[in-house]
C-alpha cells in the first residue's frame, strides 16, 4: 500500500510539472494583462513601468522559471488585481466552495441512492418510471435555468429562502461553516440543491443500473435461498456490491463539483472559488488563473488516489499495483 501511494505521489508531481508548463504557455497566448491594469489613456512610460513591475517585460521562459522556483517554495505569485498571494486568496475562498460541494454531494447521495435502489428493485413499476423520468429531466435541464427558477419560486414568490450570498457562519470544532447556523443553512439550501440536481440524476442512474445488475446475480439468488429477508439482502449483499463503483464515480464527481461550481456560484453570488476565477479570467489576472488551474489538477490527482485506496479497501479482490502478495 505504502509503495503504491509513494509511486502515485511521484507520478503526480510529474503530471503537475507538465500541466504547469502547458497552463503557463496557454495563458501567455491570451490577451495582455497590462491593458487591464492601467488606464487606457496612460502615458507609454507609465505602461512600461507597470509591465516591468509585474515582470511581464521578460521573455516567457524567464517568467516561467521565476514562477517555477516560486512554486517550489509554495508561492504561486501575487494577484495582479488584489496585489496579494494567489494561494492566500484561494485559501480564503476555498471553504465556501468546499462547503457547497460537500452539501451538494450529501444531498445527491441521500436522495439519489434510495431512489435508485427502489427503481432498480422494481424496474417495471410506476415508481421506477416516475423516478427515471425525473432523472432524465435532472440531466437535461440546464443548471443555470433551474437555478434561476429556484430563486424565482422559493425566494421571490414564496419568500422562504434568501436570494443570494453565504449567510452567517459559525465555528465548530475549529471549522468555520455556514452549516452551523440557521441563517447559513437557509442560504446554502438553494445553491447546494441546484448544484446537486444533476448529480442526483446521475446517482439514481448509476444505482438503478447497479441494483438491476447485482439483483440478477447468483449470489443474490443463493442469499434468498438461505431465507434472508429482503431488507437483509439489500443491506448485506446489494449495497456493498453497488457502492464500490458508485463511490469511485462520486470521488471524481466531487472534484467536478468543486471545480465547476462556477455557474451555481455566479447565480447565487456564492463567495467561493468559482466566483474568484470568473473574475480573474475577465480581468486577465494570470497568477490567479494559473494557480486555480493547477489547484484543480492537484485536486483530481488527490481524489483519484483516494478513490483507488478506498476501492482497494472496499473490494477484497482488488490489489493495488506494487502491493506485496
Amino acid at each position: 500500500m505504502l509503495a503504491f501511494i509513494l509511486r502515485r505521489i511521484m507520478q503526480s508531481v510529474v503530471v503537475l510539472f507538465v500541466m504547469s508548463l502547458i497552463v503557463f504557455s496557454m495563458i501567455n497566448l491570451v490577451g495582455d494583462p497590462v491593458d487591464m491594469l492601467v488606464n487606457p489613456e496612460s502615458l507609454p512610460e507609465e505602461i512600461d513601468r507597470v509591465r516591468r513591475d509585474f515582470g511581464l517585460d521578460q521573455p516567457a521562459y524567464v517568467q516561467y522559471w521565476k514562477f517555477l522556483t516560486g512554486a517550489l517554495s509554495g508561492d504561486l505569485g501575487n494577484s495582479f488585481i488584489f496585489g496579494r498571494p494567489a494561494l492566500a486568496l484561494m485559501a480564503e475562498r476555498f471553504p465556501a466552495t468546499l462547503e457547497l460541494a460537500t452539501t451538494a454531494l450529501v444531498i445527491a447521495v441521500t436522495v439519489g441512492l434510495p431512489l435508485g435502489v427502489y427503481a432498480g428493485l422494481r424496474p417495471n413499476g410506476w415508481g421506477a418510471r416516475i423516478i427515471m423520468g425525473g432523472s432524465v429531466l435532472g440531466i437535461s435541464v440546464p443548471t443555470f435555468w433551474l437555478g434561476l427558477m429556484m430563486i424565482i419560486v422559493f425566494s421571490v414568490i414564496l419568500g422562504w429562502l434568501p436570494v443570494s450570498g453565504r449567510g452567517e457562519t459559525a465555528v465548530f470544532f475549529g471549522i468555520e461553516s455556514s452549516l452551523f447556523t440557521v441563517d447559513g443553512l437557509k442560504h446554502i439550501i438553494l445553491p447546494a440543491t441546484n448544484l446537486a440536481l444533476f448529480k442526483i440524476a446521475m446517482v439514481i442512474r448509476l444505482t438503478r443500473a447497479g441494483t438491476e445488475e447485482v439483483m440478477a446475480q447468483d449470489y443474490i439468488k443463493f442469499a434468498r435461498a438461505k431465507g434472508l429477508s429482503s431488507k437483509r439482502i439489500v443491506r448485506a449483499h446489494l449495497l456493498p456490491n453497488i457502492l464500490i463503483p458508485i463511490i469511485t464515480v462520486l470521488g471524481i464527481e466531487f472534484g467536478t463539483l468543486i471545480a465547476f461550481a462556477t455557474v451555481t456560484e455566479s447565480i447565487f453570488a456564492w463567495p467561493g472559488l468559482g466566483k474568484l476565477v470568473i473574475d480573474a479570467i475577465v480581468n486577465l489576472d494570470r497568477p490567479i488563473v494559473v494557480a486555480y488551474l493547477l489547484f484543480v489538477v492537484a485536486l483530481f490527482l488527490v481524489l483519484n488516489l483516494v478513490v483507488d485506496i478506498i476501492y482497494a479497501v472496499l473490494d477484497p479482490r482488488v490489489r493495488l499495483q506494487g502491493e506485496e502478495g
Binding site: F222, A225, G227, S229, P240, N241
Partner: protein, 331 residues
C-alpha cells in the same frame, strides 16, 4: 395425500409470459419424495429442471409464477405462501445449491459472515454459537482449518472449495430437503466425484432428502434411488434407478442413455438425439417429443399420460420400449 411423504407436488405448472404467449417451463409435474429419499432429475438444457427446483423454493423469477398445481411440504400446503412464509421455509426446511460455485457467494463478504447469516435468519442465536455451528459444518464437508477459512473471501477459494462452502451453508440448519441443481457440472471430474460421494454420505448421515438435478444420467445413477426424466417441462419417465437403467422405456430416455459416455465405445463420438427442444410457448399438440421421435405414429398426436408399467416405473409414451438401453442406440 400420503402423510409419510416429505414433499408432494401435484399438477405443478410454472409459466413465464412471453410475447408469443405464456411459456410453461414446468408443465403439469407430479412428484413425491419421502424423508431420506434421493431423487435424480435429468433432462437436456431447457427442459425445466431449474425452474422446477426454484418453484419448490418459491424463488421463480418475476414475472414468472406458479399458475397451477399444489406443493405440499411436510403435510403443509405451501403453494400460496406469502414471501415472509417462504423466507421461514427457505434455507431452513429446504435448501438449494446452484450450479456455478464461483458466482453463488457474495464476492465482497467474508465466507464466515455469509454462513452465519444463514443460521441467524432462522434462529435467535449469538454470533459465537452460530460460528461454532459453521465451523462444524465446514469440517463435515472436508474444509480444513475452518477458523482461517471463515475470515477469507470467496475469491481466495478454488471452485471445488467454494462449492463445499455452499454445501456446508445448505446443511447449516439441518434441512429436510436439499435441492442440488447441477452442483458439480462446473467442477473438475475428480472434484465432481468427491463432492458426489460427500453429498451422498452427508445426506445419508443426516437423513436429509435430496433432489439431484443433472443433465447427465450417469452422474444421477450414482447417487439417486429414483430418477425422473424431464422433457419440455414434463416428466416423461420415472422409476427406481436400477429398473430405469435396465429397461428404459421412453424413446427420449433411451436416447439419453445412448449419449452417456459409459455406453459409448472408446474413440467413438457420443451419440446425441437429433433435433432440439420444441418451443415451450408453442408445444406440439400431442407428445412433445414426437418431432424427434423415430417411433412416432398418429397415436402420438394425443398427449399420453404418465402410466405405470410396473410398480416402480412409469412412462409417458403410447408405445413404451422395453429394449435394454445399451442395445437401443442403433449404431
Amino acid at each position: 395425500m400420503n402423510p409419510t411423504k416429505l414433499l408432494s407436488i401435484q399438477g405443478l405448472r410454472t409459466e413465464f409470459p412471453t410475447p408469443d404467449g405464456p411459456l410453461a417451463a414446468v408443465n403439469g409435474v407430479n412428484l413425491e419424495i419421502a424423508r431420506g429419499d434421493v431423487l435424480g432429475i435429468v433432462g437436456e438444457s431447457g427442459s425445466g429442471k431449474t425452474v422446477l427446483g426454484l418453484s419448490i423454493m418459491g424463488l421463480v423469477d418475476q414475472p414468472g409464477r406458479v399458475t397451477a398445481g399444489r406443493i405440499t411440504f411436510d403435510g403443509t400446503d405451501v403453494t400460496n405462501y406469502s414471501e415472509a412464509q417462504w423466507q421461514g421455509l427457505r434455507g431452513n426446511k429446504v435448501a438449494m445449491i446452484f450450479q456455478d460455485p464461483t458466482t453463488s457467494l457474495n464476492p465482497v463478504q467474508r465466507i464466515g459472515a455469509q454462513m452465519i447469516e444463514a443460521i441467524q435468519a432462522h434462529r435467535d442465536i449469538s454470533s459465537d454459537a452460530a460460528r461454532q455451528i459453521v465451523r462444524e459444518a465446514m469440517v463435515r464437508v472436508g474444509i480444513n482449518s475452518p477458523d482461517e477459512r471463515l475470515e477469507a473471501y470467496p475469491h481466495q477459494f478454488s471452485g471445488g472449495m467454494r462449492q463445499r462452502v455452499v454445501i456446508a451453508t445448505a446443511l447449516l440448519n439441518a434441512p429436510d430437503l436439499i435441492i442440488a441443481d447441477e452442483p458439480t457440472t462446473a467442477l473438475d471430474v475428480t472434484v465432481q466425484a468427491q463432492i458426489l460421494r460427500d453429498m451422498r454420505r452427508l445426506c445419508r448421515d443426516t437423513g436429509t432428502a435430496l433432489i439431484w438435478i443433472s443433465h447427465d444420467l450417469g452422474v444421477v445413477a450414482q447417487i439417486a434411488h429414483r430418477v425422473a426424466v424431464m422433457y419440455a417441462g414434463r416428466i416423461v419417465e420415472q422409476g427406481a434407478t436400477e429398473e430405469m437403467l435396465k429397461s428404459p422405456s421412453h424413446p427420449y430416455t433411451v436416447g439419453l442413455m445412448a449419449s452417456m459416455p459409459a455406453n459409448t465405445p472408446r474413440g467413438q463420438r457420443l451419440a446425441s438425439i437429433p433435433g432440439g427442444l420444441p418451443q415451450l410457448s408453442n408445444l406440439p399438440k400431442g407428445c412433445s417429443f414426437a418431432p424427434r421421435c423415430t417411433h412416432a405414429t398418429e397415436a402420438c398426436e394425443i398427449l399420453p399420460d404418465l402410466c405405470f408399467t410396473s410398480a416402480n416405473h412409469a412412462v409417458r409414451c403410447v408405445s413404451p420400449l422395453h429394449e435394454r438401453g445399451q442395445h437401443a442406440t442403433g449404431d
